[in-house]
Subunit: 497 residues, 2 copies
């Protein structure tokens, strides 16, 4: 598909609204900064101009507008099918959790205490916190529901809001005091099964993020210093943003048996012996949408991968009074023929085609189809890819097949482009100096490192607050850049969101 010259389309005034689909024009003065110049400002503008989010009058919170929420619903639908297939049942536990529950497991308490928000006043002496995560309140129920080996595994999930009173600078979708997520909580009879579940769910996240969001991720375990408060082992999927910062996209944990024991969960095994359970928990959140914006967006706005798009195709009919009826009729016939793709016709009056093009580009709709009277005469349409801007003239009879392939191509290309970037940013360092240099150059730096919090702390201090994103166990021995000890663990270092 060669880059055809852009058509000059005259602004047209049409007489009457006929089929209005979108009534609120977005603010398409366009973006005042380019993505490469100032990613942070670009991001702030795109999420608002594409109407994904807006700011409520409460610091650190966000409003998910329909365009943003639709992306989250797409993730919910896709992932609910995965959950059903894996025998995980959806449920709902209370928003409020007794503060005493957080104190039962020391690490968990320490990890979440700074971010807890509480309800005013107490109820029968209970101090109640808003859930930052629900392990504790769910374990309280597990203790009642789990009696024997027959009750295991128990696999529950909930889609809900959580509150974490962030003290760091907040940023919509990436770090907010309230966000939406799913949290899965399972109980197993053996550590082996728990570990397998942790890995299985991490793989499910990787698949979802790579295949649907078209974002390549690195999967691995968290270092001892970075693991979830209360976890025995934590795994993570990490994506790389265009500024070289890593974004944690999802985590999966195998929790300490003592965590469950502190809630008195136990079961009678097949030999009639009382045993402790092995819990797991795993979650993804609306943060994924922030990653999607940053990875795929460009200077025209949002770019939504076709599999994530609620509206995959927009048809913009070029309307003149004399041919309006014929063009609209053809546009509607085309829309109907494109089933089951989701298609909108933008026939709003009072806006020029060029203005509409800008708006749909800002919103990131993957494919635009232009259809004017001249196209009608030639029985053709112009098809424009959102990701590359490439235009192609396509005979009307071939449009469906053409677009079908094109949507797959776009999905594939977005992933490939992001994968190429990710791969190009990973560098290996064999000394502290090289690690520091890599971090300074905003790379994802791979180093041999002993997985010890004290060692990691020293490196963190030496790299201006970069963190290990994940740990890879390798078979080839190496030398720890901090201690000089021999080790089989590789750490990926980066700045992060």
């Amino acid at each position: 598909m060669g880059g055809k010259p852009a058509r000059t389309i005259k602004s047209s005034t049409v007489s009457k609204p006929s089929e209005s689909i979108v009534k609120t024009p977005v603010d398409t003065k366009g973006l005042s900064v380019s993505k490469s110049k100032d990613l942070s400002e670009w991001y702030t503008q795109v999420i608002q101009k594409a109407e994904l989010i807006d700011y409520p009058p409460i610091q650190g919170f966000m409003i998910l507008r329909p365009n943003g929420y639709a992306l989250w619903e797409r993730i919910q639908t896709t992932f609910n099918a995965v959950l059903a297939e894996k025998g995980v049942h959806n449920a709902y536990f209370p928003l409020l959790i007794p503060d005493s529950f957080f104190k039962k497991e020391a690490e968990h308490a320490k990890g979440f205490a700074p971010e807890l928000a509480y309800i005013k006043g107490t109820e029968q002496g209970q101090l109640l916190a808003l859930r930052p995560t629900s392990e504790t309140i769910i374990y309280d129920s597990f203790a009642k529901w789990i009696r024997s080996w027959r009750d295991l595994p128990m696999k529950l999930n909930q889609w809900c809001n959580v509150i974490r009173w962030e003290v760091k600078q907040t940023k919509p979708l990436l770090r907010t005091r309230e966000f939406l997520w799913q949290e899965g909580h399972c109980a197993f009879a053996t550590q082996q099964e728990a570990r397998a579940n942790m890995r299985e769910m991490l793989q499910a996240y990787k698949k979802l993020i790579e295949q649907e969001l078209a974002i390549p991720v690195l999967a691995g375990r968290k270092s001892t210093a970075e693991k979830f408060p209360g976890a025995d082992m934590s795994m993570t999927v990490e994506a790389l943003m265009p500024d070289g910062k890593a974004l944690q996209m999802g985590t999966s944990h195998s929790l300490k048996q003592e965590f469950a024991r502190s809630f008195n969960i136990s079961f009678l095994d097949q030999q009639g012996v009382q045993q402790g359970i092995w819990p797991t928990s795993w979650g993804i959140s609306t943060r994924l949408l922030g990653g999607l914006v940053m990875v795929h967006g460009d200077d025209k706005g949002l770019v939504i991968p076709p599999r994530m798009a609620k509206q995959q195709i927009v048809i913009v009919p070029i309307l003149f009074d004399e041919s309006k009826v014929q063009v609209l009729t053809q546009a509607r016939a085309l829309r109907d023929s494109l089933h089951p793709f989701s298609v909108v016709i933008d026939d709003r009056e009072g806006y020029s085609p060029g203005w509409k093009f800008n708006e749909w580009e800002m919103k990131g709709v993957p494919v635009r189809v232009e259809l004017g009277p001249k196209d009608l005469a030639k029985q053709q349409v112009v098809v424009i890819r959102r990701d590359t801007g490439v235009k192609e003239i396509v005979p009307l009879g071939n449009v469906k097949t053409y677009i079908e392939t094109l949507l797959e191509t776009i999905q594939h290309d977005l992933y490939a482009k992001a994968k190429h970037f990710l791969d190009s940013q990973i560098v290996t360092a064999s000394s502290l100096k090289e690690l520091q240099k890599g971090i300074k150059e905003r790379k994802l730096v791979k180093v041999y490192m002993v997985d010890d919090p004290r060692v990691e702390k020293k490196l963190k201090d030496a790299t201006d607050g970069a963190t290990t994103r994940l740990i890879e166990e390798v078979t080839k021995e190496g030398v720890c850049v901090q201690t000089g000890e021999k080790t089989y663990t590789l750490a990926y270092w980066a700045k992060s969101y």
Copy 2:
């Protein structure tokens, strides 16, 4: 379908688990009270034994277990399709709302103040409440998003949790301090459109509740005294519970234009004149599940209407060592043939068929299929309706057609039975004395009444706290039972949940 005598099924011990579907046996000691004897205690037992809900350690809250949440998900799926068709977009607004927002509209403030829960501490001087409903925070955004007539109508909805710190006695699903709901919020250019939307959504609720939940409802407007705080007009759908108490199943409101005006929402009309908008709001909640339990359940437990059932059919194979393989093979073939109905096979070991029957009856699965070696030999199965307990022997070749019809019949019969009860409980009273008598007899009593809060208050005091459930405007003039004035408004009085 005649009432065949119950088969005597021997308890069987099978060797090994083969296809376990449900691992946690419910507590099927059975219900210790009958529904007709003590509805309240029966309800409390059923919702727990059918594993719809459980009690968390926080007063007035509830846990929606997978069986309960699945019913809510069914409502979400069905209603999301309705919303999409009506051009309503899902979104998500913050859980926390500045207290000052509630003070902007006097009636709204007065209505919700007693139930507000607050976050400890303030943020930049803001006192923050947990949402009891989201008109205020959404109107704050409407003021930003609505500029001209082109932006109207604006139709948003959110599925979320809400917190109302009830002081009355709580009861799971019916009255809890946290519940799940959907709240739709729209803005229109004219009062006429807003009123039409209010009525349209009420009808959508009526259809959902009658056709899916098989619960007949009365639809009408709320009296002036009972309308939503801040509404210009409120409409309601009301169902009648077996104890003669009404249950409000959903409400739809046309709000005062001043409510929107207090948030500075206005738009430029087509003539360029600044106008106020007309808002509506409407909602249904997890309370619907409580109604479903009470209306359809019986002394064996829950009865789920087929359209609401996640599991519509359970096959219980009668397993003996010598014929186990053949029976299970046939059971699986039968399950596959019953697609797209949702079927589970209960082949758990260590439980007798009779024990399993009790459990599935407690859970309310609409149809049970029994299949043993003798049935296999005769190429037949036994099909049992959950609602009536009627058994029928059906040739294997006819099972799908038979069950298809049966599920429709059950859905229809459940509605018809409930409708018959509702109709039989409505009485007309033409004096205060008759009204008092009707209320004492736990009827839904229809009386002529002037729609005036002072009049209503007197009647409320005279009827031991009964309330008007809805108001019907009629063409036939009558005499108010309180004032003796002539009036065209009929009020339906009842005790309520």
